[in-house]
Amino acid sequence: MTETDAPVVLIVEDEPDVAETYQIWLQGSYDVRTAETGDAALAAVDDDVDVVLLDRMMPGMSGADVLSAIRSRGIDTRVAMVSAVDPDFDVVEMGFDEYVTKPPTRDGLLETIETLLDRAEQSEALQEYYSLVARRSALETEKTEAKLEDSEEYARLNERIDAQREEADETLGDMESDLEFVSAVRELSELTEDAAGEEGADQLGDEE
């Protein structure tokens, strides 16, 4: 994290007065950084940056190029595309986490940032939820159903699981949305890419 502890937002925008408008809206709530070109954006982005607002159309490196460089470097950040062109499904395929139509309103921009900051909380919330469910499964594996019914620990655990599920689901956001759904799944994959590798694909039979 940074010294101020406020979430870090990187604005990538080639028009200085547009960038300044965003900056005025965001300062106070966030630690704001700016970059005027794709190259400058790549120099400025690291794991400390929570959210990138990325202009799609820039001279030189395009927003899509910057995004794919961010993804291939495995930087832990969430990226919203800012564009005057109406969104199409390619936004999902390109790997953006959110989409902002240009020119954005102040509220629209802040809402997008908040959605992406929730997404940043997703990993921890889901991890905690998983740990609790795994602990419950361990109890279920060890004890009979009758014993579980009498167990205070089991009852408390179930309450914690329900509460944690709610918390995790809030970080997920609107899973009916294609963009948010893919973004939530991508968040999982980014964490496991190193771990997964090629070790699977053995001969477990699930063919029927």
Binding site: F181, V182, A196, G200, L204
Partner: protein
Amino acid sequence: MSSTYDVSGVLPGDELDELPPGTTVLISGPSLVGKRQIAIEMLAAGNGDGDGMLLVTTKTSAASILRDFERIQPEFDRNRVGLIDSSGTDDRDGIREVATEYVGSPGDLTGISIGTAKLTKRFADRGVANVRHGLVSISTLLQYLDVETVFKFLHIYTNRVESSGGFAVFTLDDDSHDQQTVNTLTGEFDGVVQLRETEEGAVEYRVRGFGRSPSRWTPLE
């Protein structure tokens, strides 16, 4: 808005009939016991009702699944099926007329999610409100990814099915994984259809969850 999902007739008993929007089902049981067949029948049951069907395959080719669908439903409407094939097989017989997305590996969850999102959008664009989702099988995902990741993916996927008022059926080999893994994953679904094989080789099933009292082991005819 979506309406209920009728799966009556798939199981010999009347344990499962009209399921409310958002319902997620796990079919679990040992290998080669017929889980995939039940999953496919639950999906195909909606074809006559105008439901869309969206199936992710991990080991079986989309083309082979399509043949299964057509065996079950001779009047099968190909316009309402979408397949996401991550099996890596080359079998593409007759698949050209069907919306299919290919994903490089069952471990590529982002690819799978993009494929399903594309095909859901296609259904939405055509005004198909009810979508039946399937994934066969979770066991293949567990060969590529750790149980934590698979659990989280299933949580996200079932959440999507709930928020969109869909229906989903997944399969899991319960003899390929330890009991704790099976319990952990089973909890993510509204209910489970468990299958087992008797010593005489007959297949039995029982239904648990769905807010109903659990059923007894019954022969699957």
